[in-house]
Symmetry: C2
Subunit: 274 residues, 2 copies
């Protein structure tokens, strides 16, 4: 039986957005293997109800466990908001989401306690960022705003674009009016629009990328639990495996525009059977 240290990290998202988290894990802990599942048949999660997102997340965890993962990373803000606590109670594997690492950094680094959060309707409606930030620093003010068009703009590839900038100016005006000093990019697609958001918000505002912070927290968690890969990949297998619930070719094309190298194969599975 192989050492748990060499087992892969299981990462899931509603679709392609979680690849920004995968990218950070690849950069920060390159010796780790990854099994990624993108629920491309049922994307987006951001407009779905809590019960549905929990049901879908349970199916995905059952699938990831068939790949013998050592930890689960919920690389989706909506699923982190709705399903993380339930999953943590139900399984004995460590589960990490993108919300807490991002919220923690924002709470720690905000100079004036004036924090903005942008995300999907579901993430914003759950108030999970606000509640967690205020549990750490009760004196902070947290303003939340859904930016639904950002996902389509990111998927269209219009990352630096006058139309994206016009949309960002409209969505973010309220953040500027409220003079937020720290803005959390609370949807995994949003880091792709980072330079446009930066341009609109100005240089003085901290932008927090939960994907980056999640990879930092994941590395710490693996060390703490003594399940980090020591750099021996004896099996010689492909260190990165990608699975989707629909349209594997489309996923691959998008993945290759985000990740530092081209992925060789993506397999489609029937997620409803898990």
């Amino acid at each position: 039986m192989s050492d748990v240290r060499e087992a892969p990290i299981g990462v899931f998202d509603s679709g392609v957005g979680g690849l920004t988290v995968v990218r950070e894990i690849m950069r920060q802990i390159p010796q780790e293997r990854i099994v990624y599942f993108g629920d491309t048949a049922r994307v987006p999660y951001g407009t779905k109800s809590r019960d549905t997102v929990i049901r879908y997340s349970r199916q995905i965890v059952r699938f990831l466990r068939t790949r013998r993962v050592k930890v689960i990373v919920i690389a989706c803000n909506t699923a982190s908001a709705y399903a993380m606590e339930t999953l943590q109670q139900e399984i004995e594997l460590p589960v990490i989401g993108v919300v807490k690492p991002g919220a923690r950094v924002a709470a720690r680094e905000t100079p004036g306690g004036n924090i903005g959060v942008i995300g999907t309707e579901a993430t914003v409606g759950s108030h999970i960022y606000r509640d967690y930030i205020q549990s750490l620093r009760p004196e902070t003010q947290v303003f939340e705003k859904a930016c639904p068009l950002f996902v389509s703009l990111a998927e269209e590839g219009w990352w630096k674009d006058p139309i994206t900038e016009a949309v960002a100016r409209r969505y973010l005006q309220e953040m500027k009016d409220r003079k937020v000093d720290t803005l959390i990019l609370g949807c995994t697609h949003y880091p792709l629009l980072r330079s446009t958001v930066r341009k609109v918000m100005g240089e003085e505002v901290n932008l927090v990328n939960p994907a980056y912070e999640t990879a930092v927290s994941l590395r710490e968690l693996l060390r703490e639990k003594q399940i980090d890969n020591q750099g021996h990949n004896k099996t010689g297998e492909n260190p990165y495996e990608f699975f989707v619930s629909d349209a594997a070719e489309r996923f691959k094309a998008f993945a290759n525009s985000i990740l530092p190298f081209d992925i060789t194969s993506t397999r489609q599975i029937q997620i409803e059977e898990f």
Copy 2:
């Protein structure tokens, strides 16, 4: 046993877009009852594969049959493109989609045989409009273009808006360069952006709304098969019933912005159980 003429029309879509078809049916054949199903848990269909869309459509038809509908209207261009022939072969109820009625009118009315089609990636990639139009009039030229942001813009409510206009100018420039004389709004969301598309394309271009043409074809079909409601709604039930697979409240709010009167209730069902 009640007369089949008094049975409702079953209408389905991937989400809220099909309500533009419902609106046309309400206007053109107000004596008919309607059962609508919006697959809000699994929206959008436009980026999904053929197999998945067929599987989902079969489940929905099984659900609609439990409501004893007399005809199935596929109020979704993607599902019409992928699933209509399969459904027509599998069930004995009449099935009507939105593609053929729209394509027929475009083929008939194009002055110069230069037709444009805009829709989701799936609809455009299937070439169903092009193939059907050219089967009717082989000499026509058909240019197809996916406009993925239009759905989000319509759902955001930015129907007449400078940002929507800028997006439309970019997507439709090729249609203008190719001097199309007739443009099919090949996604059920797009009629909501009609005035913006009109402004960009100019007054001289015919805009074809498949939702309108589908209601015309449906009325003819009901008469031809002698299953049209004669105007006696003896049962006294609510003539319009709405079902969704997720987030009924959100659906209701959007429906009330599109339909000529407020809908009273929307019920959520587990569509995967059908």
